[in-house]
Amino acid sequence: MATVNDIPMTLEETKEPPNAPVIAVKELHKSFDGRVVLNGITLTVDRGETLAVLGRSGTGKSVLLRLIIGLEIPDAGLICVNGSNIAGLSIDRMSEIRKRMGFLFQQSALYDSLTVGENVAFPLEHHRSDLSTSERGDRVRQLLAEVGLEDASRKMPSDISGGMQKRVGLARALALEPEILLLDEPTAGLDPISSGEIDDLVLKLQRERQMASIVVTHDLHSARTIANRLALLDKGDVVIEGRFEDLEQSEIGFVKEFLKQS
């Protein structure tokens, strides 16, 4: 596994090193109106690996994902994708990086004026002009089949359940065949059966596509099921990072309390 020392520290050093992690954040800081949300966190994720980011509400888990995909700009620190620093890139240069990322929003964020099929086709229409209409249609059907929603193509997002909306969001996130998948609370607000189905789906996708993934979640059971490693955040810092067994054996008070309450 690549380590944080493989991450370049300055913009000038951002030539892609051969063993660079797919995603690496180093000394990342972010504040909103003077309130520190991330206080210099450092994390890495390799190809085919899933990192679950856990923590209490308001500890900056979702902000971390928004920083990685460029929806927020960090106050300081580096965000490297395949060894290149992407922090603070212009919107058009960032778009090129985003084509390699898939993002599932906490509330799915489906376009409410488009059907389920049109939602999934949306990134393809804008970035895969090489595909004919019928090829795009086939790709949408294939993606919907992959998330078990082949019959919902003509439905509106408001006509399907929260769990189905998450699946559509996942299909849309996978449309451009990303090498990085960012999932923000994929099981939040879902019943245990739907949560299990989403977990199974994420596991299946990981096996088949070998993406580097970061999953932000409160759901310890889900994190344990789908992630190779877990990172627990508190007050903008990583308290502990490792396998679930490492968290279980930790003597840190906050880690014990978090596991006990989860």
Binding site: R66, I69, G70, L71, I91, D92, S95, E96, R98, K99, M101, F103, F105, Q106, Q107, A109, L110, Y111, D112, F122, P123, H126, H127, R172, L176
Partner: protein, 283 residues
């Protein structure tokens, strides 16, 4: 508690040297805050305009979305604009007749109605009607997309939302306002004739012939094309207010309202400047 008020410790101790605070009166603080907010709004509007402009002139171009917005702003607003233009033409005809009869005139010159409609009332009414319908629509739609993270989802899909959402809507407003103004003018002139001919019959050909005699394109083109500026104002303000929305359903409501109010206000203010500009340059 024994009824004594609790005094904060900080309030009882004098500030250390060099840390004295200046206590402004409440009205002065409020004025300063409003002034700051005013400049902040204009600064952000400037940045937003720059981002939209840069996105609009660089490929890829969002032709399909532009056509959809041309239909939304143009075709969908046409009935309302035509009705408003017709009503204004009829009212102007009646009012002008009433005023002229009071001063002893026996008939109303058609040019009075036609000039009033085409030079001022048609463009202004079109600007205000579109501010209401399209400004509120764009403001509310983009605000709703913002608070439900749909705009973030567009950006996360590697699509520039300034290009897809803002530039297409603003361009549609700029292109459609002059065309809608022509429709409002036509309905205003037609209804002006109807209102006049009901009182004092006159053929439509005679009304038009007399009304336009001696006029040039300079009399009619600048007032019509000035509405492209109204379109820019309406589109820009509605997109800006919508895309900076915060705060759920209440925020959406606030953005829709502020889009209409600010767009209408700036259309009226811009009209003052444009009328003076047209008078200086074209006459």
């Amino acid at each position: 508690m024994n009824g004594h008020a609790i005094t904060p410790i900080a309030a009882t101790q004098p500030a250390p040297p060099g840390h004295e605070t200046v206590n402004l009166p409440v009205s002065a603080r409020s004025l300063a805050s409003n002034l700051l907010g005013f400049f902040d709004w204009f600064g952000n509007l400037g940045l937003f305009t720059w981002k939209v402009l840069r996105a609009a002139v660089t490929p890829p171009y969002e032709w399909r979305e532009l056509i959809r917005q041309l239909d939304e702003v143009g075709s969908q607003s046409l009935p309302l604009v035509a009705l408003a233009g017709g009503a204004v033409g009829a009212v102007l005809s009646m009012e002008i007749r009433s005023s002229m009869v009071r001063f002893g005139a026996t008939s109303v010159p058609p040019s009075a109605v036609i000039y009033s409609v085409i030079q001022e009332m048609g463009p202004t009414i079109t600007g205000l009607v579109v501010s209401g319908r399209v400004g509120a629509g764009i403001g509310a739609q983009l605000a709703s997309m913002k608070v439900t993270e749909q705009i973030d989802a567009i950006e996360a899909s590697a699509i520039n939302p300034y290009r897809l959402l803002a530039s297409t809507r603003i361009l549609a407003c700029i292109l459609m306002l002059p065309l809608l103004t022509v429709a409002a003018d036509a309905c205003g002139v037609l209804m002006g004739w109807v209102a006049q001919t009901l009182v004092q019959p006159i053929s439509f050909q005679q009304f038009i012939g007399s009304g336009f005699s001696g006029s040039t394109l300079h009399d009619f083109l600048p007032p019509t094309f000035k509405t492209a500026v109204f379109g820019l104002i309406i589109g820009l303000i509605a997109c800006f207010q919508g895309m900076r929305t915060r705060g759920g359903a209440e925020g959406v409501g606030r953005s829709a309202t502020s889009s209409v109010v600010l767009a209408s206000l700036f259309v009226i203010l811009a009209d003052v400047v444009l009328v003076k500009f047209i008078l200086v340059v074209f006459q």
